[in-house]
């Protein structure tokens, strides 16, 4: 089977083209650096099937970043039959820099001019024939997003792959032309593949080439001694200059620009506001809050708080009342996310009642009924009921990502947090952490600085992922239900921000202690804003849904059965009361550890409940919720239902009431879960991305940070006025000491 490689600059549309060619649903993001590894698929759009390899986005074939290494090694070692070089037609000159390097390889190249639809919209024109004549390889105009020109491209690639092609260089006019020719001849004589490419890289002083061809390097050194140039021997810069010179001279004529494109684009105008030096971050916070408000608010736009419009509808029919309460209650009009959550809770309650009566009617033993109702179904439905709400949050986040705004977030945060030791590049995997820590940790491969990579991997779990979101939703919803004046949406928003603030704070501390070093410069091409594509959004949501469903029916269901068993059986394998159960004994044994955080011994006989929930969360964070839902009936908590005005968070409210846990301790519990060791999958991925021997420090970092922070949060929230007075006294004392020292050091003696 013919093998085609897709190579191009970051965010030029390679993965979109890959999806169009292969029918795959690989993750596409409107920011550079989404793909960090190569992936393979089969294209059946041509006359014969062809294997297509999507390479990470690269600006050059120099081995500076892991992506460049992956792409270069693949092209040199795996010898594809043809390379499709995707060039963003809206930024042609910069994209052609990579093209000039690909042309130096002995491989057929086809240039795909992508985003020509955007170009036309601007009133500009790309002349594929003119460019093809200048480059000496076929050029095809396409729009990967709209799947236009794909068949022509496949045909061109198939045709090109049938014939061999020798590398060509655009450096014939450069001062190094003779040197490159000499080395090319020498390498060809030795039978080295891609001699021209290696010769140019050798002249650039490329590290792997210098090691591989020491004899030819002597020729370069001798040439350097003989010839003086304006680049002080920096041939890499000289060659780059020669490439850009050639591109400007020969290729820029292929694109004719209209007067319209010289003006500021809509993206540029939007960026003047959204990435404003002062307003950028406040606007980001407002957008983020709007997301949480639409997802978690029980009182949409605070209409009830302002106009007092909420009331409980009572028709006399409990099912109808419950259904109306899905949309409207005494709290006001529910936000779309809450409506989805309520609907799912309503369905889960009906399904649960059906299962319970079915198992009972079948005459199953009491323990079997308990296992099904309070074990398997309680655990699974606990997680399932949050899925629509969390999916809604992800839909909103995906819209931000696909529109191109998330790339701006990295840019505006870079400006603010650089002084704390964090670069905007590191924020890209962190923002990905809102979805799942696993791909976020993989994305850290794009960070060149090892220290920055280690720090980023450590703080990625602080960005609340989709699995932790149900914990926040449940806990904040329960607190809001129990305490008047607290809004669930504000609380969730505050906790998300707290996670981000902790990431910045801990990085700042690491930068001052164990990870001292310079912050890497951040250069990122800001993609143009565009309307999110429905297909792309659906792929994001399908991923999340698949993730939850798979987890719910594998890890969660298995854990629920185990938790139910351990909470209903004693050490001598007899069914027993919860106080004599295995789970109680295990939890009680370690509950003292959680006392400083507010959810240990102070809860008396229920001190072990939240300890067990936190421990099960180490397997998968959704387990915290399923544990709540299994343990609530097990400890005899009276679960409020729809009739009591509680939706799917009933078991959490019941646990609060039964155990007597305070809201401060619940917040500390949530903070502990947000910051502690992530799930096994994420921890394993971080381990894989961390240099050998360093992962144990990362584990210690997670445990210490979560424990100390949760303790501090509990203490501050519980005795905030005491802490405030102590802090005030400490500040006064520090000021006094500082003034005294200053007075002592004053040369005048006053």
């Amino acid at each position: 089977m013919l093998r085609i490689a897709l190579a191009g600059n970051p965010n030029s549309g390679k993965t979109t083209l890959f999806n169009a060619l292969t029918g795959s649903t690989a993750h596409v993001g409107n920011w550079p650096g989404v793909t960090v590894d190569k992936r393979e698929g089969v294209c059946k759009k041509g006359s014969v099937p062809m294997a297509v390899v999507d390479l990470p986005g690269i600006y050059s074939l120099s081995p500076y970043t892991p992506e460049e290494m992956i792409a270069r090694n693949f092209l040199l070692e795996e010898k594809p039959d043809c390379v499709i070089n995707i060039a963003d037609a809206t930024n042609l000159e910069r994209n052609l820099y990579l093209t000039t390097q690909l042309l130096e390889m002995d491989v057929p190249v086809v240039v795909a001019l992508n985003m020509t639809d955007v170009l036309q919209k601007r009133g500009d024109k790309a002349d594929a024939e003119k460019l093809s004549a200048a480059l000496g390889v076929p050029v095809v105009c396409i729009s990967a997003l709209k799947e236009e020109g794909i068949r022509d491209l496949v045909q061109a690639a198939y045709k090109a792959a049938q014939t061999k092609r020798a590398g060509t260089s655009v450096l014939a006019q450069s001062p190094l032309a003779h040197l490159i020719d000499d080395i090319t001849i020498a390498l060809r004589g030795k039978g080295v593949a891609h001699p021209l490419f290696h010769a140019v890289k050798l002249a650039e002083g490329d590290e792997p080439e210098v090691k591989a061809h020491p004899q030819e390097m002597q020729t370069v050194e001798a040439f350097k001694k003989k010839c003086a140039d304006g680049f002080e021997g920096d041939y890499e810069a000289l060659i780059a200059d020669a490439r850009y010179g050639y591109i400007t001279q020969h290729f820029s004529a292929a694109v004719s620009r209209s007067e319209r494109s010289e003006k500021l684009s809509a993206s540029d105008k939007a960026d003047r506001i959204l990435t404003h030096r002062v307003w950028g971050i406040p606007i980001f916070l407002v957008i983020l809050f709007a997301l949480f408000h639409l997802t978690f608010a029980e009182d949409l736009f605070y209409l009830n708080a302002i106009f007092k419009i909420g009331f409980d509808v009572e028709t006399g029919n409990s099912v109808l009342d419950s259904f109306v309460a899905v949309f409207f209650s005494s709290a006001g009009v529910a936000a779309p996310g809450v409506i989805l959550f309520n609907l799912m809770g309503f369905v889960c309650t009906l399904a649960g009642n059906g299962i319970a009566s079915g198992v009972s009617a079948a005459g199953a033993a009491d323990w079997a009924q308990g296992l099904v109702n309070d074990g398997i179904w309680a655990g699974v439905s606990g997680v399932l009921s949050f899925i629509p709400q969390i999916l809604f949050l992800f839909l909103l986040l995906s819209i931000l990502e696909d529109s191109g705004y998330m790339a701006r977030v990295a840019f505006i945060l870079d400006r603010a947090f650089r002084k704390f030791g964090l670069s905007g590049r590191a924020f890209i995997p962190m923002i990905m952490g809102f979805g799942c820590s696993v791909p976020a940790a993989i994305n850290t491969r794009t960070l060149a600085d090892e220290k920055e990579r280690i720090m980023t991997n450590r703080v990625i779990p602080f960005f609340t992922c989709g699995a932790k979101a149900p914990i926040l939703a449940a806990v904040c919803g329960a607190i809001a239900a129990q305490y008047a004046g607290i809004n669930a949406d504000l609380l969730v928003f505050a906790l998300y921000l707290f996670g981000m603030a902790m990431a910045v704070l801990t990085v700042a501390i690491m930068r001052q202690t164990t990870m001292k070093g310079e912050v890497a410069p951040f250069i990122m091409e800001l993609p143009s804003y565009h309307l999110p594509q429905l297909r792309s959004l659906m792929v994001h949501l399908w991923d999340k849904l698949k993730h939850y469903i798979k987890k719910a029916f594998t890890v969660i269901v298995a854990s629920s059965v185990v938790i139910w068993f351990l909470s209903n059986f004693s050490w001598n394998w007899q069914m027993t009361e919860i106080q004599n159960s295995i789970l109680h004994d295990i939890g009680a044994f370690v509950q003292w550890l959680c006392t400083p955080m507010g959810f240990g011994s102070q809860l008396g006989k229920f001190g072990w409940v939240f300890v067990v929930a936190a421990v099960t969360g180490l397997i998968a964070k959704e387990n915290v919720i399923s544990t709540f839902y299994v343990l609530a009936p097990a400890i005899g908590a009276l679960i409020p239902g729809w009739d009591d005005g509680e939706s799917g968070i009933g078991p959490v409210v019941a646990l609060m009431q039964a155990t007597g846990i305070t809201w401060q301790a619940l917040i500390a519990f949530t903070v502990f879960n947000m910051l502690t060791i992530p799930c096994f999958a994420a921890a394993a991925t971080v381990r894989g991305e961390t240099p050998k021997g360093k992962f144990r420090y990362t584990l210690a970092f997670w445990m210490l940070t979560s424990y100390l922070t949760a303790t501090a949060v509990y203490l501050v929230l519980t005795w905030w006025w005491t802490v405030f007075i102590l802090l005030l006294l400490a500040a006064l004392f520090a000021a006094y000491v500082a003034l005294r020292n200053r007075a002592k050091s004053c040369p005048c003696g006053r």
Binding site: G363, G375, V438, K546, V555, V562, C679, G688
Partner: protein, 62 residues
Amino acid sequence: MQFLLLSATGTIVTVVIAVLAVGLVAFGIGYQIWCKKKGKSSCGCDCSSCGGCCHSHKKEKK
């Protein structure tokens, strides 16, 4: 007779539930091990965002 039939049904349902519970736990654990061995994606979900890559894959070295 009806009582005996109901009792037998109850016993069968109970046994089925017990077997199902054990099966679910075995499947849950087995699935995780299978995913780990397969190495397609570290959490077993093989989401598109993982890009088909996994922590178990060898990283490219400079």
